[in-house]
Structure formats: C-alpha cells, structure tokens
Amino acid sequence: MILEVEHLTKRFGPRTAVQNVNLGVEAGEIFGFLGPNGAGKTTAIRMLLGLLRPDSGRARVAGFDCWRQHVQAARHFGAVLESPGMYPALTARQNLRQFARLLGGVSTQEQTDLLDEVGLEGRADEPVRGFSLGMRQRLALAQALLGKPQLLVLDEPTNGLDPLGIRDLRELLRWLARDQGIAIVLSSHLLSEVEDICDRIAIMSHGVVRTQGSLLELINGDGYRFELWARDPARARRLLEAIPGLHVGDGTEPTRLELCSNRDVSELVTTILVEHGVGVRELRRCSGNLEDYFREVTTRGAELVQAAVS
C-alpha cells in the first residue's frame, strides 16, 4: 500500500471539513476521488500533501506520515493542485528546474524529456506569464512527475485542457499506472473521465467518504445484468427460466430479454441456448452508470446530513 489514510479528520472552527476518512491505494492503481463542490476532497488532498495539519488521524505515503515526516513522505509523491501555480517571470524550463533542485538528482535531460512528454518542448524557454491555463496545467504535471514519484496526486488535472489534451493526459496516466507502477489519486468533477480510467473510486459528500470500492462493483451492486437478443425470444425465455437464481424480464424490443442474476451466467446461458438450437444474436453485459450512482450516493449523503441537523 503506497498511500494509507486512517481516520483523517480536519475541522475549520465549528465546521468539520473532513471526517474520519479511511483510504488505501496500491502501486499501479488509479484511484478516483469524487464528490460535489465543498465535499472535502481538496481539504483531504491538502492533508495528504502536508499542506494542512490533520486534527486527528493520519495519512502515510510509503510509510511516512505526511505531516510529521513531510520531507521523507514528499520524496515519494508528486502533485498537481487545483490551481496550477507557476512562477510567471521564469520560463517553463526554469520553473521545472526550481522544483528539480529541491528533489535533487534529476538531470537536465530528464527535465527536458518531461517537458517533451507533456507537449511543451516548443515553449520550454518562454516565460510562463504568457502560458494558457492548459499549458500551465501541463507544466504542473511535468513538475509532479519529477524524480519518478511512487504516488501521483492530481486535483482537477484536466482544468483548462482541450479535448486532445484530456485524451493525452488519460493515455499518459494509464501508461504511468500500468507500465511504471505509479499509484494515482485523481480528484475530478468529470465523471466520464473517472469512469474511463479509474480502477477504484471513493465518493465524498459533506466531509465523509460515503462509499468506496471497485468501479464495477459499486455501480453494478452485487448483481449482474445482461441483455439478450435471441432469434426465438419466447423459447429462450422458457429455457432460461429453468436456471436457478436467474430472473428473466422483457426488454424494450420484442427480440430482447433482460437477465438478472447474482452471478456471472453468461457462459451458462450461451451453452443452454446453443444446445437447444436457439440462435443467439447478441448477449451483452450491462454496466451501471456512474453519474446515476454518484447522484444517488451524494443525495443520500445530503439526506443523512439533513436528518442529523433536524
């Protein structure tokens, strides 16, 4: 476990911004951190980065406490924050060199390679004051990747990026996690982005992690849903209804059936239908929708808070 968060809590006066958060992220995993505005995501991330002191609980990166052993912990992570700050009077290369010096042991060639990797090779020697938000975001990402960190913490990394930039970032993150074994914590408002690349997610609302787990598990619950297009739907229904634990319902089209089960029955369904000579045009597993799930969780969170208040 490269990142371990235990009972992390932060209060600002009477308001509890983050309450009893527990998380763990493994090497090579992309972990999505979701929540509406003001949910406490940025506060939690700032505690991971040693910018805020937790009131209780702790966050550890590579075994080092993020607040008490900040210098050691910070050697293992890189971060892109919500508003990417860079020194406007310095060029992109000089900005990168500033942060590289603090890490030590990052060669000039590595810095140049990083600038190439994020697509700033042609603008490396221009002052950052003339950069767009997207270019600053790319530079911030290069800065975060200095020194090959084990953990990458990205708070809204697609802010200001154009569609091509978002696609490039997504591919880069997949490559970093899969091929380089870097753990990535990604906080984003873009659910499609999270759905597309994250292995696991946590959803925060009102300072509390309402749910966390693998994306597929969370949005599909415990069950499996399939859509079946058969040549003879009536006969297919009769055959499949004999399978224990499988519920067969009508689809929206005459040739379509909806199948629900608490286990993966795709192979069994195909085998039975083929053995009985029922042609199968298509059998497709249906995934849930993250947006619906997100809405459900955050609404439930809001209701809980409302109930607690009243």
Binding site: T42, R46, L51, A74, L81, G85, M86, F99, R101, L102
Partner: protein, 334 residues
Amino acid sequence: MLPVVVWNELEKLIRRRGLLIVLVTAAVIGFGLVIDLATPQQADWKSQTRQQIAQLEADKVQAQHAPAGLPAGIEASLGSAIDQQIASEQYLVDHDVPPLDWYPAGRAVAIILKTGFAFLLLLFGWLAAESVAQERSEHTLALLLSRPVSRRTLLFGKAAALQIVATTVLLVAMVPVYLVTGLQHAGRASLTTSVMVLDDPVKGVLAGNIELLPTWFYVVAAVALSLAAVLVTQALGLLMSILSRGPALAIGLTLGTLFVLQPMASVVKLALRDPSWLHYTFLPYLSPSNELTSDPTVGLGYSSAGLSLTVLLVWAILLLVAAVTLFARRNESS
C-alpha cells in the same frame, strides 16, 4: 538543502525584481554622488576649527558678562560645557585629527546612510513582505510546500537570499561613492586613510577615548550595522508576509510599520523625554547614521554601536522565530 533553497530564491528574486533592485541601487548611488560632488570639502579644516574655538571662547565671555545674569548653577554648567567643547576642538587641532566628514570613508558612509539608506530599507522591507504572500497568491506556495523541504528551511532560505541581495546592494551602493569621494578630495592616497572614532561618544573627544580605525574596518562596521537594521526590516516583512493572504496587505503593513512607527518613536522620544523603554525597541536604531556619522567630529562610538547592534539583532531573532513558528504551523488551505 538550505543552499539549494537560497539559490532558488535568488533566481526568483532576481528575475522578478532584478530591474527594481538595480534601479533603486543606481538611484541611491547617483543621489549619493550628486550630494557628495555638490558638498564642498573642508580643505582647511584646522583654521575652521580654530575659528570655532575662538567663537566658543567669545560665547563663554559673553555668557559671563551677561547684564541680567544667569542663575549660578546654569551659568556654571554652561561654562563647563563650553570648556569641554573647546578642549575637544583644541585636541583635534593639536593632534592633527580631522573631523569625520573629511575622511573619504566617513563621507561616503554618511552620504549613503543619511540619504539613500532609507530607500534601501523600504526596498528590502517590500521584497521580504511579498516573498511568502506573493507565492501564496500565485498558488506556488502550496506546490513548494508539497516538495521534500521543511518549512523552516524554506523560510530561512528566503531570509538568507534577501540578506545576500541586501549585502550586495549595500556594498555596491557604498563602494562607488567611497571611491569617487576619496579620489575627488585627496587623490589615491586618501583611499587608504584611517577614520577617527570614539570609544564612547558620550565622553566626547578626549585623550584615551579616540581610536583611529583602518578604513576597511569602518566600512565593515557601517555595513554590519546597516545589515542588522535591514535584517530587522526583513524579519518584520517576512512575518507580515506569513500572516497576510496577499502581497499588497503584507507590503502595506510592513511599510506602514516603518513609515509610521519610526516618526512616532521620535515624537515619543521628545514628548516623554527619551524614555528608557524606547531604547529596547528597534525603532530608534533602524537608521544607524547616528552611531556612524554623528556631527561633526564624533564617529562611531563603540558603546553606542554595540547597543544598537545588540538591540537590532535581538529583535531580528525574535521576529524570525515568530515568523518560523507561525509558518511551520500554518494551514495552507486553498
């Protein structure tokens, strides 16, 4: 890690404020040279001093024969003061010791400290005040603090970089004025002269209370006292910078303290007849010209300079400790 942070801070400082620093330094040098070239040198200081002695003796006689007559106590103390001043001036003439502003180093230091130093002090206060607050407003502070460097090292790095710039600027401002002053008034030989100072400025110019210091030592003493004043200003600026969200507020608070409290200290000094507690604040010592250039023959008083240096350093340390403590504990929320 500290040298790395200092190097980073110097790079940022020079690229962001390099032009301003060069312009202010050039203005201080230019201003100093103009004043120096416009001020006539006391070529025949001995005859001038003898004239002063004659005038003092005349004043004494006039006081003794005043028609209305002064109260006995006042008359005696006035006579004694005039006698002491006559003795001092006579001592200088007899021992061939010219007044401080005759020496090139003395003139150069006096010119800088009495004219441009106030601007330099404000410049350094400004730079310190914006150092942390500017990073906070540009969102670079969070990125910097997320890197493997302790907050204490970061703050000391900033303070050290500011002090390096201040030392360089002070030396760059003083040396040309010193060279031009020396060459203008006495040719190359004057560049190696000594500077007359007093052990204790309160005792005045008396045998046993006078030291002839090598020029380099006098300049070093001037730079050290000036830097101690700069250090207090910077520590104050850093503290304001840590407490403020934006650079404008930090700069305003720092310059406000320097602009308002210093004149206020002078008013308090007059109104309360120089209360002793005032000597334990840093305000009377921010301008070290009194210790280094007091008129006209009294140079650096060791005891006076020592008190100034001690008070300034103690305040600098207190302000820096406060700044480090606050910075180390402060939550940097978005």
